[in-house]
Symmetry: C2
Subunit: 347 residues, 2 copies
DNA sequence: GACGCCGACTAAAGCGCTTTAGCGACGACA
DNA sequence: TGTCGTCGCTAAAGCGCTTTAGTCGGCGTC
């Protein structure tokens, strides 16, 4: 156990004294730099262990070194984050990978994009983080350029798969949505509703495009209703779809939370799933697995995605070469009980 | 906008030069210390704004000041965190309150308690965080004493409401569980199952005690099955309860996620809720509101709880006086469609 | 008119590391 | 034998702030 010194905590000087060397030697030993004999190094490490000493991160960072911290700023209402499995899983994965390298994750939730950029500016000026992870890329998003300008290394999650000003981790939403559309087409569905996300988001737009492309190709009639990802709007969108003259025989939801809201609306309307109408969620998660019936969804390992993003940002801040576009696995179709053949009557 | 200097970023010396004063004056102006005239202060602040300068946090922390960071270490499997609304909401609330004071939240997920203590030790030695938030208090928990020993300020969430070695934010689980028991008793339930949490957790134990106390008082027969909070165990526990000779007419779940698992088991067993059996969840959340039928639950604002905890830890690290026990609002009963009168046959 | 005090400010030290420059000893090489 | 290179290590500067200990001029007091 650590022997508490009276008053102040141990510093590098205490270690040096105890090992009978200079502070420089301690620093060299600690950072695996050459010029310290094995014998001396061992003595130093022993002193470190005995006093339970750790270099003060602030002092370390001051010497122009890294802060060993990666930042994540999310521009969404703080209260809604708690129910987004995607987000929570991503953070868990990020955290898991970062912590193996003793790098901390700094989390911040803000109101909007401009507040988000302000935070980046602050962090960059304060040297608080070595790099950041950027989510929910939008069309003409100001963040990449701003980040380049302020010299804060960043990794984008999402994007359109084309090389941009900074590395991006990209999952092929288009291919994923296409396979979901093909699944529905194979079951005979023609009129398909789509409860989409925020159109400004690049990934939302890409999903809409994919679904409509596939619809055109496979002779399906797609109706997309955009939402802000909230349950209220998802429920309203579902009701709107049900009220259409040509009522859809299947509805695709952009997120798991939205899909659950949809399940509730259908239950209230007395419609059976998949007997009367088929449901599918683009995001898979515990939530849709627990629904009754469990929902057909595009499965991806979001935790793993987080790890991949962390890996990328770690390489980036270390100055290692990072590909412009890191491909994450494409989500794969998991068929569960919520999708079935189109009902006879409506066929 | 900031004028980028060639090479290095602005430091306090640049601001001082621009304002025609000494670095000391800049520091004083920034920290609202007396001894700077209004006129000079204004000139300094103008220079700060023009260069978009922010004090380097590392340099600041090095001067023995605060790190402006609060830590949260969670000893649970990282993958399960993503589906715990309680946890996500708490973090959101914490974050929201901390960020208004520009204090960062450091998140870390570890395997077990001993790894958690190691992280505290590291953080204390590195001066990385000013204080920490401790969750999931256990019986004979080693953490409070260890934290006191290493001099890391901490706030406990949970606990038993008695003053301990450090401030605790306490919600009266006992009273909450009692009101849930009374609700079931009023509906005529006698045989009540309880899918509990990890018995080592103080809050789990307190809930069990409350339920059994109320049972004794109200003539109910309570059967508690402990679980590790996972859905698998919750499902298994539910099946075990259903298989009992004296099948319960109501089941209480300690968490929302567990309750959802229970809903699925009942649906598979062909039992109607609340026709055949009543269900209630101790934790309320979006999840149980979305279930069909929506579940009766004990409602509390976890986001607000997070804010309260943040408030407490902020006071603590600032050296302000903090009560030993901060009382959070007691969760309140929200009756929804999942609890009903005990069925005739079983009554 | 001498003294003390106060307000406004500065010089310099110090926080705990990392890093650069350099030093002495020793062996290799010519 | 002299020189150079290398190894193992140290002295000292420097990172960008905060803080302590002043300095200096003006004003009130007796």
């Amino acid at each position: 156990m650590t022997t508490e010194r009276p008053g102040r905590r141990a510093t590098i000087a205490d270690i040096a004294a105890r090992a009978g060397v200079s502070p420089t030697a301690v620093s060299f030993a600690l950072n695996d730099r050459p010029g310290i004999s094995e014998h001396t190094r061992a003595r130093i490490l022993a002193a470190v262990a005995e006093l339970g000493w750790r270099p003060n991160v602030a002092a370390r960072a001051l010497g122009g070194r890294r802060a060993d911290t990666v930042g994540l700023v999310v521009a969404r209402p703080a209260r809604t984050l708690g129910i987004e499995p995607f987000f929570a899983q991503l953070v868990s994965g990020l955290q898991a990978r970062l912590s193996t390298d003793l790098v901390a994750l700094q989390l911040l939730v803000v109101e909007d994009l401009s507040a988000e950029v302000d935070v980046y500016r602050r962090w960059a000026a304060e040297r608080r983080t070595d790099g950041v992870v950027v989510l929910d890329l939008e069309r003409d998003d100001p963040r990449p350029d701003e980040l380049v300008r302020m010299g804060l290394p960043a990794v984008l999650v999402g994007g359109d798969g084309t090389p941009g000003p900074m590395p991006a981790v990209f999952a092929d939403d288009h291919a994923a949505m296409t396979s979901l559309a093909e699944h529905l087409a194979a079951l005979g569905h023609v009129h398909v509703g789509h409860v989409g996300g925020i159109p400004a988001y690049v990934h939302s737009a890409r999903r809409v495009a994919a679904l409509h492309d596939a619809g055109a190709r496979l002779g399906m009639n797609i109706t997309t209703v955009p939402t802000d990802f909230s349950q209220d709007e998802a429920a309203a969108a579902t009701r709107a779809l049900l009220a259409r003259d040509e009522r859809p025989t299947a509805i695709v939801y952009d997120s798991d939370v939205a899909a659950l809201a949809g399940v509730t609306v259908l239950a209230e309307a007395g419609l059976g799933v998949p007997g009367d109408i088929s449901l599918a969620s683009f995001d898979d998660s515990e939530l849709v697995r627990l629904a009754h019936p469990p929902l057909t969804a595009m499965t991806r390992d979001t935790f793993e995605l987080g790890e991949l993003v962390a890996e990328t940002v770690l390489s980036l801040v270390r100055g290692e070469s990072v590909p412009d576009v890191v491909r994450a696995p494409t989500p794969e179709l998991t068929v569960r009980g919520s999708t079935g053949r189109v009902p006879e009557v409506a066929a």
